[in-house]
């Protein structure tokens, strides 16, 4: 009721405002400026239609309003001005009909900036919606509120953002990250406060938030690299699970970060000098070993972590992700690892034309520096007649870059086809490419030159002109007897009309006039006749030719030269008059010219250096690959420079994250340092496990030898410090090691599932013992509550049970037993057929009821290093879920899952030991029945 009254009040205010507006029609419409054309041109009929729209909007019928709003949105979409409907529309902002409401939002966001006063009327609705229990409504309210570009509500927005940043729903937090940028663009003065929010959101562990907050970071404070330190490892590890658009921005941000934090992997023996000094004092044998160690560059483990975690993303279906990983490898990876990205980039060439264009541009830049990278894929760059012109030119560019002695004949054969192309611009580009190949590879220069001379008789003008220009450049690089070619060109001179080509021929005549002493004066004679009708560039070269001939052969050409100089003196163009005056002073001796005259010959006929034919992509590598700036070859606004590698790496420990130690004594945290009182046995296990994982990870990523060895040594350190009483004494190395292992986990076989399982290792995981392996005759069971929402049902809680089979028998038929009490609802997973002791089973995730592949024992030939694994430790992790009395969605956001309810689950795990074969199953049933009893604290 109250709400209705509220609306009535607002309505009257709206009407007032409307009346006010109509009183001063011209000035009150700031929106008119945006589309003056449409505004003024709108015929009277549209005004009428808007009139009936207004009526519809003000009617009581929901369906009429909706219909009207749809038409209004249609107007907006067409770019027509619908701002005069603002008062009528804004009234419907609190409508119960969700579609109507959404359409009103669309309208509001579009016109609020123009009608600020009226827009304010809607603010309270959003403020109320921000408190809604439905997260979706909260999020969309924040979206609209922050999109209304009205400076007066900045404080309200700030408040809403701060609140939303602490919201329980990650979706709302994501929206708040977007709102940060909107507020920043509206009012840059809020920067400091916004940075605080960004800092807070950067710590967020949700994959949903990560991408958006990094966008906000890039927009608001890209220079505050210090905010990243603590979140660096988390971002690296989350990366695989972040949505694809977020991956792109995170990867490009991390590229920039890594260039400021790590030392260059490209310099060999960066730490050589330092160790050399030590070696001086050491004994000979030691020196040897020290040397080899010193020469090997040791990559910062965090650097390696980034490279390893981005590698799987090369397989992404999103081309932008693949490109961003490629640029990351290009800018950060050691030289020999960059080749990894080649295949994926070539794959992108199958994609849409626009994608091809960008990818080819990047390949062009890469192929200049690293020919070897793309040479095996040369044929992928062959041009098809159906390619768009800009694609063709780029492919040509790449082929030229890839040309070397071995493949030049293939490439030239291919070029021959291109020259004949119907697309003449492309044919001309091919001729230039041939010229470049000819200068770069001396073996084929003559062949190319002959080929180009043949092209001089081509029917197409552009082809001929381009050939002339290229031949001119080639002749310059090889100034030996090529008078035949010059003569041939002189013969063609009359037929060529393209000015650049004519100018080139004239220049050649002048430059090598001693080789063609008879022809050159004749050409000059012809030029004198047509001088006035020529293009500027041709005129300039004519003047040049005249000057050169005057110096070498003044008897024949004196009069001609004077005639041309006189023509030039009265030319319309400044340049030509200027040049003529200069040349006259230089070559014709008189009393004023003085000393310069003597040197005229040396000035004009000096040997000139040959032009270097270079790729247009030569200097593009100053921009980060994959960026807009690189694509345009000019700095785009907002481009962040990629810094050079620091000579000395900044402190690594800034990236260490304090792991909160569990208080409980019986916590055998996997992969993290255990508490002081943990039994030696569990300690043993965890270190063994981590041993195996680290060696695994060494295997999985090619060429990361130094990493695994690095983590090995850290392993030792960890063992040393493991008895340390408090987390403070934890060394940086150990914690890095811990992250390593996590890194491996993330990229595990069941990458998504396993990530979820290991997610809690950001905080403590309390593991509870269910069955000791002594009582269980080799079988032990532990369980813990993984801290993430249950996928199956929101009202359920995931429990993860880890079974370790230490016996030499197989486990069979692991399943959930009777469910008692009946009030409990356990999501059953399917029976796990068999869990063999003889073969190693890495981990089984019934990840929160995404039921797992049944075939528990993977194939025996599974490429896991069996020898590294203690046969006795075989772990099987399964998880079951149980309902919770309390509303569960409050549990799974930020705080650790803490099942307050005294929920109990009774799981019967039939363990069954079995001699050898499956057939014995029924006869040899001497397994025990476990009763898992799980109670929250």
């Amino acid at each position: 009721m109250q709400q209705q009254r509220f609306f009535a009040l607002r309505l009257s205010r709206c009407v007032l405002a409307l009346a006010d507006q109509s009183a001063r029609p011209a000035a009150a419409d700031p929106g008119g400026g945006t589309f003056p054309l449409f505004h003024r041109a709108s015929p009277p009929s549209s005004v009428l239609r808007n009139e009936d729209l207004k009526e519809m909007l003000e009617s009581n019928k929901e369906s009429l309003k909706l219909e009207a709003m749809k038409r209004v949105v249609g107007l907006i979409a067409k770019g027509k001005n619908a701002s005069e409907l603002f008062p009528a529309v804004v009234k419907n902002v609190a409508s119960k009909n969700i579609e109507l409401k959404k359409l009103v939002y669309v309208y509001l966001v579009r016109y609020a900036e123009e009608q600020q006063d009226l827009a304010l009327l809607s603010i309270s609705t959003f403020q109320r919606a921000l408190k809604e229990p439905n997260q979706f409504i909260r999020a969309s309210a924040l979206r609209v509120l922050s999109s209304i570009r009205v400076p007066i509500i900045v404080p309200i927005m700030m408040l809403a953002i701060k609140e939303a940043a602490a919201d329980m729903s990650p979706y709302v937090r994501k929206t708040s990250a977007h709102a940060i940028q909107k507020l920043y663009s509206l009012d840059p003065d809020q920067k400091e406060q916004l940075i605080e929010v960004i800092e807070k959101l950067l710590k967020d562990k949700s994959t949903l938030v990560a991408g958006s907050v990094v966008v906000a970071f890039e927009e608001v404070c890209p220079d505050r690299i210090d905010l990243i330190h603590k979140n660096y490892r988390k971002l690296c590890n989350l990366l695989v699970d972040v949505e694809e658009w977020g991956q792109v921005v995170i990867i490009s941000m991390l590229t920039r970060y890594a260039r400021t934090q790590f030392t260059s992997p490209w310099k060999e023996g960066a730490s050589f000098e330092e160790n050399n000094e030590k070696a001086f004092y050491a004994s000979d044998s030691e020196e040897k070993s020290e040397r080899t160690e010193a020469e090997a560059y040791v990559m910062d483990p965090d650097h390696r972590l980034l490279l390893r975690n981005t590698k799987p993303l090369l397989q992404s279906r999103n081309t932008a992700v693949v490109m961003s990983v490629a640029q990351l490898y290009w800018h950060l990876a050691p030289r020999h690892e960059v080749n990894l990205v080649t295949k994926s980039l070539v794959r992108l060439l199958r994609s849409h034309r626009e994608v091809q264009y960008i990818v080819l541009q990047n390949i062009a830049t890469m192929s200049i520096q690293r020919k070897g990278m793309f040479e095996p894929y040369m044929k992928s760059f062959y041009v098809r007649s159906t390619d768009a012109t800009h694609i063709k030119t780029l492919k040509l560019e790449i082929l030229t870059n890839l040309a070397n002695e071995a493949n030049i004949s293939t490439i030239l054969r291919e070029f021959q086809t291109y020259v004949k192309s119907q697309d003449k611009a492309f044919a001309a580009a091919t001729i230039q490419a041939i010229g470049r190949c000819a200068t770069n590879i001396s073996e084929v220069t003559d062949t190319c030159l002959n080929g180009l001379v043949l092209l001089l008789s081509n029917r197409d003008e552009t082809v001929v002109a381009e050939s002339v220009v290229v031949i001119k450049k080639l002749l310059q690089t090889q100034p030996t007897q090529h008078s035949e070619i010059i003569k041939h060109m002189a013969k063609l001179f009359d037929n060529i009309t393209v000015s650049m080509a004519r100018a080139s021929i004239l220049w050649l005549m002048g430059e090598y006039c001693d080789r063609v002493p008879k022809i050159a004066p004749d050409v000059l004679r012809k030029m004198a006749k047509s001088f006035t009708a020529e293009e500027d560039i041709v005129k300039l070269q004519t003047v040049n030719l005249a000057a050169k001939l005057y110096l070498t052969n003044s008897k024949q050409t004196k009069l001609l030269t004077q005639y041309i100089l006189n023509l030039g003196k009265y030319d319309q163009s400044y340049d030509i008059r200027d040049r003529t005056r200069f040349i006259r002073q230089l070559i014709v001796p008189n009393e004023k010219s003085g000393a310069l005259n003597k040197y005229a010959r040396r000035i004009l006929l000096a040997p000139k250096p040959a032009p270097v034919l270079e790729s247009a992509f030569k200097d593009r590598d100053r921009y980060q690959l994959g960026t807009l700036s690189h694509s345009l070859n000019s700095k785009a606004s907002g481009y962040q420079e990629l810094s050079d590698w620091p000579a000395v790496a900044p402190d690594q420990s800034v990236r260490n994250v304090e792991v909160v130690e569990p208080v409980r004594a019986r916590s055998s945290q996997r992969f993290s340092l255990s508490g002081p009182a943990s039994s030696s046995e569990s300690e043993e296990q965890s270190s063994e496990e981590s041993d195996k994982t680290s060696s695994d990870s060494g295997k999985s990523s090619s060429g990361s030898e130094e990493t695994s060895s690095g983590s090995d040594s850290q392993q030792k350190k960890k063992k040393k410090t493991k008895k340390a009483p408090q987390k403070k004494s934890k060394t940086a190395a150990a914690s890095r090691c811990y992250l390593f292992l996590r890194g491996k986990m993330v990229a595990d076989v069941y990458s998504r599932a396993s990530f979820q399982v290991t997610a809690p290792s950001f905080g403590p995981v309390k593991t509870y013992e269910l069955l000791h392996h002594m009582t269980g005759k080799g079988l032990s069971a532990k369980y813990h509550f993984p801290r993430q929402p249950c996928l199956h049902q929101p009202g359920m809680v995931a429990v993860q049970v880890t079974l370790s089979n230490g016996s030499d028998r197989s486990l069979e038929e692991i399943h959930v037993g009777d469910r008692s009490p009946a009030s409990l609802n356990i999501h059953c997973f399917n029976t796990i057929g068999e869990y063999e002791a003889s073969s190693w089973c890495e981990r089984l995730y019934l990840n929160k009821l995404l039921p797992l592949p049944e075939q528990a024992p993977p194939l025996p030939d599974k490429p896991l290093s069996l020898n590294n694994i203690d046969q006795a430790k075989k772990t099987c992790t399964i998880s079951i879920s149980l309902p919770l009395v309390h509303d569960c969605c409050t549990l799974y956001n930020t705080r650790p899952l803490n099942p307050r309810a005294h929920a109990q689950t009774h799981t019967h795990t039939h363990t069954q030991t079995q001699t050898q074969t499956h057939t014995d199953r029924d006869t040899d049933r001497r397994g025990s029945t476990l009763k898992l009893s799980i109670a929250g604290d």
Partner: protein, 418 residues
């Protein structure tokens, strides 16, 4: 990030605009029109155009330019990929992505664009999430909505948004549980004048249509996974499992999706399914040219070559073509000079041929290049690389699904130079 979006049709009208930040005047598109005028073909408009204050990044699909306005540095591929995703979504929703379809559904389009981007950054691009937010328009639903007054817009946050499997919604139910997989391979090849292969490679995709109840976990294994040289996955595929065992293990999205695209390693020799005998000549001084083309099957492993379509861009000087097709029909467009010949199925006993003469412009000189011939074809029930799916298993759900796998080979960019 993305500031605004303009949709421009073939005749150069801006028929839709959407702004995610402040409004950018549509006059910014003038720079685009300038570039369009300079380009000889619609495809030749450069994808990235700088203007004094903005950057325009455009894609052309279905003869509509999707022009995004950018204000500051952003990876261009990011925008391009997103624009393509928009087109895919439209296609998914309306069946076709044409100007008419977009205009008819302008409200849905607007609602979609609103949900897909927030402040220029992609918010929801997964089809299943979008479909929960905004239901695709169907005739039936429109009728129901008008009667009951319910709407097309969802009120709840789509379940996918928060889950670890954002591509799948929960609570999927089907009476018939079925999973179909199409292995489609395309041959990209350039054949030179003499019939020898200059370059040939095979690209393939596995498209799936999965309609399964609940949360099934599927694994798909191949008889010969070694063939696959380079792959890209739908995000649902567990990458490490593939690395270790060469098995595709995934929780599938609901409905149609592309599971995998792959590239067959280039060491393998590619079987070329058809050969072309051609004789296209222009004589100097005469206004006649000869055109003679015969197709025949080459390495097809006993399967029939179907749906053959030959097209060729004839030189500009050709005025008309007077041809005789032994099979199928041919058309010649005198404006674009495009010759298309719809052959249909190749009968190995009676090879299809297209013979006749071409009339050239009087007085014009002989064209120096012979046209290239583009060929499209289809071979059913065969993947030309020899890739075979071994088995498909389902875990996690109790019912027995119906499974089906289909193979097909197509010609991709298959060109014969003459």
């Amino acid at each position: 990030m993305i500031h605004s979006l303009f949709l421009i049709n073939a005749s150069g009208d801006i028929f839709l605009e959407k702004h995610w930040k402040s409004v950018v005047s549509r006059s910014v598109c003038d720079y685009f029109f300038e570039a369009q005028e300079r380009a000889s073909e619609p495809e030749n408009v450069p994808p990235v155009i700088p203007t004094p204050h903005h950057y325009l990044i455009s894609v052309l699909r279905h003869r509509i330019y999707f022009v995004a306005v950018i204000q500051s540095e952003v990876p261009p591929l990011f925008v391009i990929e997103f624009l393509h995703r928009v087109v895919d979504t439209f296609q998914d929703y309306f069946g076709v992505c044409t100007e008419a379809a977009i205009k008819d559904n302008v409200v849905v389009v607007y609602e979609l664009l609103e949900e897909m981007l927030d402040n220029g950054f992609p918010l929801a691009t997964e089809s299943n999430i979008l479909k929960e937010l905004i239901k695709p328009p169907t005739i039936l639903r429109t009728m129901v909505n008008t009667i009951t007054g319910s709407t097309n817009v969802g009120e709840q946050l789509p379940t996918g948004q928060l889950s670890v499997v954002p591509w799948r919604r929960t609570g999927v139910k089907y009476t018939n549980n079925e999973a179909y997989f199409d292995v489609v391979e395309e041959i990209d090849a350039i054949i030179d004048k003499s019939g020898s292969t200059i370059t040939a490679e095979i690209q393939g995709v596995i498209d799936a249509c999965v309609k399964l109840t609940g949360m099934p976990d599927l694994t798909l294994s191949f008889m010969n996974p070694r063939l696959l040289d380079d792959v890209s996955f739908h995000p649902c595929v567990r990458f490490k499992r593939w690395e270790a065992e060469r098995i595709l293990s995934f929780i599938p999205p609901d409905g149609n999706f592309r599971l995998l695209s792959y590239h067959v390693s280039s060491q393998n020799l590619v079987a070329i399914p058809v050969y072309v005998k051609h004789n296209i000549t222009f004589r100097e001084g005469s206004s006649q040219g000869r055109f003679d083309l015969t197709l025949g099957p080459k390495q097809t492993m006993g399967k029939a070559v179907e749906a053959v379509l030959v097209s060729s861009q004839l030189p500009r000087g050709v005025l008309n073509a007077n041809l005789n097709a032994s099979q199928g029909t041919y058309t010649f467009d005198p404006v674009t000079k495009m010759l298309t010949w719809d052959v249909g199925k190749i009968n190995p006993q009676k090879l299809p041929s297209l013979k006749g003469s071409m009339n050239l412009q009087a007085g014009a000189s002989k064209p120096d290049e012979n046209p290239t011939i583009n060929i499209q074809l289809k071979i059913q029930q065969m993947a030309i690389s020899g890739l075979k799916v071994n088995r498909l298993d389902m875990y996690g759900e109790k019912y027995k699904p119906f499974k089906g796998i289909k193979y097909m080979t197509k010609a991709g960019k298959f060109q014969v130079r003459t």
